[in-house]
Every structure is written in C-alpha cells, then in structure tokens.
C-alpha cells in the first residue's frame, strides 16, 4: 500500500488546490486580467439601460470609440478596475466576514474553515468583480454545511441572512463549478488533537500537562483564523500547518514533536559506516539495526530539514494573520479607509452579465428551454450519429460557439505534472 504521503497526493486538495506561491499569484493575475477583459467587452456591448434605446437603433455603433455626437451617456467610459492586490484585500475581508458569520451561528470548526476555503478557492479562478462576494459568502457557508454535515435547513438558514432561498441556490452550482466539483477540504484540526495526544504520551511531558493544554488552546485559536486568512492551505499540508501553529503557540513542543518523529536520524551517522558489518552483534540485534538504518534512510535528516523548512515558512505566513488580527478586519477606521473605497470601486466595475446571480440563473434556465434537450439523446438519432449528443450551450449557435472552446485547461497543465511543489508530508499519520 502506498504511503500516507502518496495518498495525500491523490487528494483533491493536493491535485487541484495546491500551488506554489508563484503559480498562485500568476493564477490570480490571470483571473483579474481575464475579468477586466470580459467586463470591458460586456460593458461595451451591453450599454447601460439608460442608453439602450439609442443603441437598439444602431446595435453595431462603435461603442468603444468616442461618440461623434458628443453624447456622454452612450459612450460608457470603462470604469477603473480592481487590481489583483485589491481583489485579494477584498477577498480577505470577505473571508473574515465568513468566519465572523459562522462564529455567530456557532458552526463547528470544520464548517467554518471549509466555508472560508470554498470562498478562497472560488476566487482564485473567478474574479470578485465577476461574482458578488457578499452573496457568494452566504452560498459558500450554506454549501459548507451541506458538505460537512450532510444537511441544513435552507429556509431557516436564509432567514438568518435575510435572503430568499432562491438567492442562495442561485449561486450553489456556480460555487460547485468554481470548486471544480471537489468538495473535500482537509483541515489541520484533527492533526492538532493527535499531536497533543502524542506529546501527552511522552513520559517527561506528563508533569507538564498544563503547558500542553495552553499550547493546544492557543494553536487551535490560530488554526481557526490564521491559515484561512493566508494562503497556507494552498502551499502546505494540514500537518505542516498544524506544526506551524503549534510552533507559534509553543515552539518547544513543535520541535519536540519533530524530534520524536525523526528520532532515527540520530542513528544515521553511526550506521553509515557499518552497513553489512556484523561486528559480533547478535542476529536479532543486527536485524534491528538494519531496520533502523532503513528507517533512518527513509525519514532521515534531509527529510527532517525539509520539514523544518516548510514548518518555518508556514509559521512565517501564519504569523502575518494571528488571531489578534480579527479586530483589525472589523476595525471601523480600517473598513472606512480600506474596504469601503474598494467596495465602491467594485460596484462600478462589476460584471453586468454575472453580478445578479438570480437573474443569471433565470437566463440559464431560459437558455435550457430554448435549446434542444440533450437528455433525449437516446431518441434523437440524428444528433447521436454525428457523435455530438452534448450539442452546444446555445442551441442554434452551437456550432459557432464550439470554436470558442480552446483545447486547453485554463488552469494550465494538470497540476500533478507541475514540478514546483510543496514539501511532501512525512507526518501523514497526523493528517
């Protein structure tokens, strides 16, 4: 059986949602640029309602060149768009809002964290200018409940947010698609419990259980906030994140845990020059040594150093958003000076075609009615023959539309092939 490391690499968290910092920022920039382009196009081809009567008469008017009539209304100047950095700030704000909302609703740690990660993942490939974050927050929290606990009463849920069920459901599929239909998020909470149990089992620690309790409480607090507010989940494994949080809470304990895991390293130096040498040791002893040598080779110093490096880097990342920063994100002057202007800016550059989720849903439903029902594929022999049962998205324009589908994954190549990868997880057992 494959090691736990190998199994982690099969998880969707690793396959689809792990990136190097460079990859991640490139993706975000790409998303931002694509959204700017699309929104520009859409703003220019769908003039605002106030000017639509004029444009109906001349649908192909050069909307993006200065209007010779000098009529300012019909020449919508493109708004100023959010930069990738501004988008990131706003996403951060809405993640903190997600955590705040789920805290008020007394949701379990897993639900809170899953909701935050759903929102975060969604806005890697979707711009905050395209889909409304406030609405998507509510959708993500709803769907996180569904994924983590199996069910949630929608009408009760929507009452809390003063929304209609329709408004929540309108974004659900959108969210699923943005999550690439992978709903499992692996969290570090269980790893922390496991680590504490392991530490508590060490003889010398038993006199110091208070220290363990304090460290666990602090580390848990960190895990409830810091990894979700940073990009830790995209770069590190749950156990690395746990160790980093523990290290922030009590560095000594984290180091102790790593030391225990790599206790074979101590033997590495000695055994290196005695492979195969019997040295008069008993047969049993010898086998044991050999087994230890093997273990040392597998979980030896090089791997320990790698782990230490990853944990340190993750620790740095988490330390930028310690739980105390919660207040920063709800601080009135901060919101007034940092967030409100961005939200105002956002409202000016939002995607006219996508922003209203309920309307978007209605248009999609309408498209469905207008187009051929692919479900009848079995009966529509003609369509089946040309091997094109799926048809196009838009019925009559299907043929043309297909051209727009490039044979390329917008994420780039499958992630598993990417060589720049985060560290392997030698602490699989603590996942």
């Amino acid at each position: 059986m494959a090691t736990e490391d190998a199994r982690y690499r099969e998880s969707s968290q690793y396959r689809l949602w792990s990136f190097s910092p460079t990859q991640l920022s490139a993706l975000r920039e790409k998303t931002n640029a694509a959204a700017r382009a699309r929104i520009s196009d859409r703003l220019l081809s769908h003039p605002l309602p106030a000017t639509s009567s004029r444009d109906l008469s001349a649908p192909t008017s050069n909307a993006n060149t200065p209007d010779p009539d000098g009529n300012g209304n019909s020449t919508p100047a493109l708004p100023e768009f959010l930069t990738p950095a501004e988008e990131l700030t706003l996403v951060g704000f809405y993640i903190s809002e997600t955590l705040r909302a789920s805290e008020m609703l007394h949701y379990a740690d897993e639900i809170k964290a899953t909701a935050a990660m759903f929102l975060k993942r969604f806005y890697i490939t979707n711009s905050i200018m395209t889909y409304p974050p406030q609405e998507m927050l509510i959708v993500a929290l709803f769907f996180a409940c569904k994924v983590e606990s199996g069910h949630v009463n929608l009408s009760e849920y929507t009452k809390t947010f003063n929304k209609s069920p329709e408004e929540v459901l309108a974004g659900e599929f959108l969210l699923c698609q943005g999550l690439r239909f992978a709903f499992d998020v692996k969290h570090p909470f269980r790893a922390l419990r496991g680590a504490m149990m392991e530490l508590a089992s060490l003889k010398d620690m038993q006199a110091d259980l208070k220290r363990l309790d304090a460290a666990e409480a602090r580390a848990r607090k960190i895990l409830q906030f810091s990894p979700l507010m940073t990009d830790a989940y995209f770069h590190y494994t749950p156990s690395q994140i746990m160790l980093a949080a523990l290290s922030l809470a009590d560095r000594g304990l984290a180091e102790r845990l790593i030391q225990e895991t790599f206790h074979f390293v101590a033997m590495e130096g000695n055994s290196a020059d005695t492979p195969g040498a019997n040295g008069g040791a008993g047969e049993g002893n010898n086998n044991k040594n050999r087994a230890n040598e093997e273990k040392a080779a597998i979980i030896g110093s090089h791997l320990r150093d790698k782990v230490l490096g990853a944990v340190e880097a993750c620790r740095d990342m988490l330390s930028r958003e310690l739980p105390e920063r919660k207040e920063h994100w709800t601080n009135k002057p901060f919101i007034k000076t940092q967030i409100t202007p961005l939200r105002k800016k956002l409202l000016k550059c939002k995607d006219p075609e996508r922003w209203n989720l309920v309307e978007l849903q209605r248009v999609r439903r309408q498209q469905k009615l207008d187009s051929d029902d692919e479900d009848d594929g079995g009966r529509k022999v003609k369509k089946e023959e040309d091997g094109d049962v799926f048809g196009g998205e838009l019925g009559h324009s299907a043929k043309k539309r297909k051209v727009t589908v490039k044979e390329e994954d917008p994420f780039g190549e499958p992630l598993r092939k990417v060589t720049v990868k985060k560290e392997e997880d030698p602490f699989g057992g603590m996942l």
Partner: protein, 438 residues
C-alpha cells in the same frame, strides 16, 4: 491599460463579423501548443475575445424571434463562457454520450465513450434535479462526489474519471464502465451461475480490500450490499454508490442511524446508535459473505422490528453480557425470549462450504458488539485467504452473460433506498410488535 488589446480586435469583428473566423482558428491552434507546466497567461485572453466575437455576431444578426428578453435591462441571454465554464466545456467534449442504460428518479445512466478513443467506454451518471428536494444540489450527489473525488486509484472502488455539467446545471459523473452486472445478479441466478469456495474467496477479497481502503481513508460507505458491488469486464469487483458515504466523525459528533439497507444493517444502527465506526460496514460485509454462500439474503427482515428479531434468533440476542452498554442505546429493544449467541459450530452446517477458516471469518464479522467485530484490516490478515482453495483468478470468475449493462444502469441510477423513512415506533410499540410476531 492592459484591457485595450483585448477590446479592439473585438470591435473590428463588429463591423465585419465574418472575418473573425480565421483569427479564432489561429488562437485555437496556439492554445493547443502551449502545453508547458506553467499557467498560461494567454490562455484566458485569447478565447475570451473569440467568445466575445460570437456574442457580437449574435447581436449584429439579431433575430427578433430568438431574442426572448422582454425587458430592456435584461442582458442578452447569450452568455459568454467564463474560463471555468470553458474548462467545463472541454471536459464535456472529452466524452460522447450514447444510449441510456437506465432511468431513475435520482439519476439517469448513459453509456458513453471517450471522444479521442472510442474504444474506451465510460458510464455517465447524470444527476437529476430532484423535485422533492428543494434545497439545491441533493445531499446524495454531494456525498458521492465528495468521496469519489478522494478515493482514487484503488482497483476495487469505482473510479470517477471526470465531472462536468450539462445544460441547466445538471451534474454528470463520468464513471468507470462496469459491464458485467453486479454480485446480486450472480447470487440470484442459481440455475445458470455456479460458483464455489474459491470464487467466493476472490469476491470477498476484493470487497474486503475496497472496504479497507475506504476506512483507511476515513470514509464510511454505509450502503454495502450485493447490488452495489459491480463487476468490471475483467471480473474485478468494484464497490460503487457512495451516495450515503461520509467521513469519520470526530468523537462527540452525532451521525444518523438511518443508513444501510435494512438486510445489511448492523444491530447498533437498528438500536439507533448515533456514534459508530467502520464496524457498521463490516457487518454488511459479513451479510454479503453469508449471502454469497447460501445464495439468498441471510437476514431478510421486512421491517426493522423483524430485522432485529432475525438477528436475535440467528446470531443471538444482544445483552449487557455480550455487548456492554447495548441496553443504553436509544432504541434498544429485543424480543423477550433471549437466544444465546451461537458459536462457530452452529454455522458450520449452513456455511461450511467456505471451510472452517471461512466460517471463523464470517462469525467474526457478525460479532454483535461493534467493538468486538473484526476490522477490515484484521479481515485481510485472516488465515482464510491462505488456506485452500486459493481465490479464483479474476479472469476465471463465473460471469453472467447479458444484462450486465442494464444492471449497471439500474444500480447507478437508484436512489439510495436506505433513507426510507421507516416508522421506527416507540420502544413500547416495538415490544408489542415482537409479541405479535410470535
């Protein structure tokens, strides 16, 4: 501004829409060539302008009949595709959907094949929007997707190749094609299908490995039964239908007791336990094992009450002696007549076909107390696998000819019957039921 280069080409298409086509072709080709591992900047921009061109074409050739939007403020119904939607289109276009294999309330199942290699068959399970479930994407679909995405690469678990959405946001799961039906078919066809101890050992081996893999990945299947064990063309048994699966629970969190099809449901669930473990699946495995041997359901209760009565009679009455704490379970009720737990010898007559070791394994899976029940891992370490006869090679396993495809269709489309709302009744009512059964 970075936007302008993307805007201007499009505006040219407004004036001469037809000229747009060749340039689309070129963007498509360049896209094909960019296959290095790094995210491609051009990837987003190019097809977008192309998509925009299509949109513009629609506008300029505006046909009043095709335009249904009544209010001026409604954006054009022709939505362009976002990058994520383009990716969905790509995924969708990798497969060709063929004839329908089965139609159900929960899903329809189609035969399909890979567009690039028509010899590669797949099953496409299209999840229906359920009329009776108003809260969006059905929980079964969410659970199935969640777990199949993670349980990859095991030969005894049905593989999920891809997911895409079709029009109106129906989910399509592209699954491994398993044309030879399921274990239920083989068990039931007593007249035409003959099999022996080596065959049972092979099937049980594959089932046990599947369950072990689920548990090793902290997933409870919660619906193991013969018709969820599908058979691949090469004879490999695959555990399917994860619509009731869930991850292991943290201690202290409650789970529903209303899972697992009744005949395969363990006593702790029948007694309403809200905290349970992989042992629930093991009981089901034991029931499948027994059924494989006697070729009929071992404990086919018609109601929960009957199910408990059957367990008490055939296996033994759960009591504080054989299962400390059982009487504390919410819905613990047993017939007043206590049957002592039967020993291995009692099973030899009816189940002896698998030998003494086989019966030993069976008895261990049917321990009443879930804490004493054998685990999947311990099952794999059992002596039975290494005693004669050897498990049959999968290629040589008995097959049933014909009907397999339809069976797969029927198995995959099924709504998990287990969420059936059974009238559990109060303890008192149950006691009365036991009385009436005598």
């Amino acid at each position: 501004m970075a936007v302008s280069p993307l805007v201007f080409p499009t505006s040219s298409s407004l004036t001469s829409p037809l000229k747009r086509q060749p340039s689309q072709q070129t963007t498509t080709t360049t896209g094909n060539n960019s296959s290095n591992g790094t995210p491609n900047f051009g990837g987003f921009g190019a097809p977008l302008s192309a998509a925009k061109a299509i949109l513009s074409n629609n506008n300029s050739h505006q046909d009043p009949s095709s335009s249904f939007s009544s209010s001026a403020s409604t954006p054009s119904p022709s939505l362009t595709l976002d990058p994520i939607e383009q990716m969905n289109e790509l995924e969708k276009r990798k497969y060709v959907k063929g004839r329908k294999l089965g139609e159900g309330t929960y899903a329809n199942v189609y035969l399909g094949h890979s567009r690039s290699d028509p010899s590669v068959h797949v099953a496409i399970k299209k999840i229906k929007v359920q009329a009776q479930y108003n809260d969006g994407l059905a929980p079964d679909a969410v659970r199935e997707l969640k777990h199949l995405q993670e349980l990859r690469g095991h030969p005894n678990i049905i593989q999920l190749y891809s997911v895409f959405s079709s029009k109106d946001q129906n989910l399509n799961l592209v699954l491994e094609y398993l044309p030879l039906g399921d274990l239920e078919m083989l068990i039931k066809d007593v007249d035409r299908v003959r099999y022996g101890a080596g065959d049972i050992k092979a099937w049980m081996g594959m089932l046990t490995r599947a369950v072990w893999f689920c548990h090793e990945n902290y997933v409870l299947h919660r619906d193991i039964k013969p018709n969820n064990l599908l058979i691949a063309a090469d004879g490999e048994v695959k555990l399917a239908d994860f619509g009731l699966a869930r991850g292991f629970c943290d201690p202290g969190w409650r789970m529903t007791a209303n899972v697992i099809t009744r005949w395969y449901r363990p006593p702790e669930l029948l007694f309403g336990a809200r905290h349970y473990s992989g042992a629930v699946d093991i009981w089901s495995v034991g029931m499948v094992f027994a059924e494989l041997i006697i070729r009929t359901a071992y404990l086919p209760g018609n109601t929960e009450v009957e199910q408990i009565a059957l367990i008490c009679k055939q296996i033994g009455t759960p009591t504080e002696d054989n299962w400390p704490g059982v009487t504390q379970l919410r819905e613990y009720t047993v017939p007043s007549e206590i049957t002592p737990v039967w020993g291995k010898e009692a099973y030899m007559g009816r189940f002896g076909a698998v030998g003494s070791e086989g019966v030993d394994l069976l008895v261990r899976t049917l321990a009443l107390d879930p804490k004493k029940r054998i685990t999947a891992r311990e099952m794999l370490e059992h002596k039975w696998w290494r005693t004669e006869p050897k498990p049959t090679r999968k290629e040589d396993l008995p097959k049933k000819s014909g009907g397999g495809e339809e069976k797969m269709g029927a198995d995959l489309k099924r709504r998990n019957g287990v969420l059936e709302e059974e009238n559990r009744g109060s303890k008192v009512a149950r006691k009365l039921d036991f009385g009436a059964m005598k």
